[in-house]
């Protein structure tokens, strides 16, 4: 379970101050997929980076399974699987070696590690890729490797920052199926995206962020009802109060 409480964060430069988060609060519960929607610059990535413990909030706090992220970042991160905004791969390593590396970083060893790697390779249907170096992988293949390395330790919580960018239909479907399966096992999934259909189809609850604040939350249906629209996209535009960022 991921909880964000009254997060404030501003970035100061010599010329001006940008308020990225302005009292954002929400919860992502276990056994649910929670989507974060918001226009560009709404504070999604800042919020997620605060969750990873990379940034510290000016005010408020975030917890992962009750562990305070700023006070105990290593313990909090151990319960987290991360699919970051920009993901790169170690191109001189094979896919298997990368997954092995991240498994070891999460403290897995010996047969437990081997078994965990085998499981994730089977789940993501990527055995054929496993022993190839990742240089020259396609976007979909890269996504699979990143997903595998984030999930090899079976984290209770899983955060994805716009995972479907640049993916074809087949890869998107693989990802969706996997997330659904993962949810059924009782894990907590937090998912930021720009693609309305995807959020509508996949998410149990949706959080709409605008200007660093919570604009609205609820199931996709509830949001549509709230805005008096039939399509989530229309509801989104209405709820954030402008059509800025929807085109992205």
């Amino acid at each position: 379970m991921i909880e964000v409480n009254n997060l404030h964060k501003s970035f100061k430069s010599k010329k001006d101050t940008v308020k990225a988060l302005d009292g954002l609060s929400f919860q992502a519960k276990d056994g649910e997929i929670t989507g974060i929607l918001g226009p560009n610059g709404a504070g999604k990535t800042t919020c997620l980076r605060t969750l990873y413990g990379l940034l510290s909030a000016d005010e408020g706090f975030a917890t992962i399974d009750g562990i305070h992220v700023t006070k105990n970042p290593l313990a909090a991160r151990a319960r987290l699987g991360i699919f970051p905004d920009k993901f790169g791969l170690y191109e001189r390593l094979t896919a298997y070696e990368q997954i092995d590396y991240f498994a070891s970083l999460h403290g897995l060893t010996g047969t437990a590690k081997k078994q965990a790697i085998e499981n994730v390779l089977t789940d993501l249907d990527m055995r054929e890729l496993a022993h190839r170096k990742t240089a020259g992988f396609s976007q979909g293949q890269r996504m699979k490797v990143t997903l595998a390395q984030a999930l090899v330790h079976q984290p209770q919580n899983f955060v994805l920052d716009e995972p479907t960018r640049g993916l074809d239909v087949m890869s998107t479907r693989v990802l969706r199926n996997y997330l659904s399966k993962f949810k059924e096992k009782g894990h907590c999934i937090l998912f930021s995206s720009h693609v309305m259909q995807e959020v509508a189809a996949l998410c149990d609850r949706v959080i709409i962020v605008a200007n660093g604040k919570l604009a609205a939350q609820g199931t996709p249906q509830e949001l549509c009802d709230l805005a008096g629209e039939t399509q989530l996209e229309e509801a989104f535009v209405k709820l954030i109060g402008s059509d800025e960022g929807v085109a992205a």
Binding site: L55, S56, L74, A75, K86, F87, L89, Y90, E97, L105
Partner: protein, 387 residues
């Protein structure tokens, strides 16, 4: 420990698969022995053999005996120079002028003025000029002695004090040159071999967007920095080991004693040098990582970190220039090691206390850099510049 092992293993795997960076690192190790060997060979040839010297004599017909004395020492007339060396000797342009009154003055017992004209600042002329001077003074002395002898005077009277020079430490200038180059090259090797690996594992990872992913893992940044430090230090250590082993092997083919060198690169010296240089490898890697991590791109890192090359090249040079070295230079990183290396090459015994202190200071500085860098990596500034 599991984490550190995984981090280090991954760094090493990446480093050893980066063929180009590895080649740069190890080529330094292979080049040094070849260079030192060629250099010594050339110097020994110059110092020991008596290569022909071609002098532009004028008035050689006035002093046939002096010319013969020259000829015995392989100092020949420019007229006899072989075609392929003509240009060289023409440029060196050594003039030797014998006056036409030579024979007359000789028989009258008057002092004779002979002129040797050349560019004395030219390094390649140092040895030929010395030889010409030696021949003339030997010739002059032998005639002087003969004159005294025929007058019934013991020539020993001319030498009331006889100075016997016994050189205990200072090698001749040639050997000094070799040891200077060797010392500088070893320092350079320790300093620069891990360079490309350090840049690749820091600025390179940032550019390839893998650093953020790593910083999000439940690993302390100290471990991350240490793993990268050990990886590039290991590469540098491999490089200097290769360098020293090959140098010591190739030196077997060169007799350094011929040019007055008082050191020998045997196993003991090799081990001492290794002991001296390993802390330098760590310090160098930590400096490289420190600056490379602050750079935004690979290219920026390359230009910043390359400036570090000044440290291993300027510090030993400054040490050479300084006549009165303050005490702190003995234990300061880099200067301490270069002074110790100078001692080793002079054939002096190693001051183990100094070695211990300077190694300690070097490692302490390394640790300081590692912890500062680890702290910096947790700062928001670094995170913000990730994208």
């Amino acid at each position: 420990m599991i984490q550190f092992k995984a981090l280090l293993l991954k760094e090493l795997k990446e480093a050893f698969r980066d063929k180009r960076a590895l080649m740069v690192a190890l080529s330094m190790g292979v080049l040094l022995p070849v260079m030192i060997m060629v250099m010594s060979k050339v110097m020994i040839n110059e110092a020991v053999d008596n290569p022909a010297i071609y002098v532009k004599f004028s008035g050689e017909e006035y002093a046939p005996k002096l010319i013969k004395a020259f000829k015995d020492e392989n100092i020949l007339s420019f007229k006899d120079v072989p075609e392929d060396e003509k240009r060289n000797w023409n440029e060196r342009n050594i003039d030797f002028i014998i006056p036409d009154t030579f024979a007359q003055d000789m028989s009258d017992g008057k002092p004779i003025e002979i002129i040797l004209r050349a560019e004395y600042g030219e390094k390649s002329l140092a040895s030929p000029l010395r030889r010409i001077r030696d021949v003339v003074s030997d010739y002059s002395r032998s005639i002087g002695f003969k004159r005294l002898l025929v007058r019934g005077i013991d020539v020993k009277l001319l030498q009331p004090v006889n100075l016997q020079e016994q050189d205990t430490s200072l090698p001749t200038s040639n050997a000094l040159m070799i040891s200077l180059v060797l010392g500088m090259y070893l320092m350079m090797g320790a300093f620069m071999s891990g360079l490309s690996i350090s840049i690749d594992s820091s600025a390179g990872e940032r550019e390839r967007n893998v650093l953020e992913m790593l910083l999000c893992q439940p690993v302390s940044t100290v471990k991350i920095v240490l793993a990268k430090l050990f990886c590039s230090s290991i590469i540098a250590i491999i490089s200097i080991t290769l360098m020293l082993t090959l140098t010591s092997f190739s030196m077997n083919f060169v007799d350094l004693a011929k040019i007055g060198a008082t050191f020998n690169i045997d196993i003991m010296t090799t081990l001492t040098l290794m002991l001296l240089l390993i802390p330098i490898c760590f310090l160098a890697s930590s400096l490289q990582l420190f600056f490379a991590f602050q750079a935004k791109t690979f290219k920026e890192a390359q230009s910043t970190v390359t400036m570090l090359i000044m440290l291993p090249s300027f510090v030993p040079m400054a040490m050479m220039m300084m006549d009165d070295k303050p005490a702190w230079t003995e234990w300061m990183p880099i200067s301490g090691q270069s002074l110790l290396m100078e001692d080793i090459f002079k054939g002096l015994p190693v001051d183990w206390m100094v070695l211990l202190v300077t190694s300690g200071a070097t490692l302490a500085l390394t640790a300081g850099l590692v912890f500062t860098l680890a702290k910096k990596l947790t700062s928001e500034k670094v995170v913000m510049s990730l994208s």
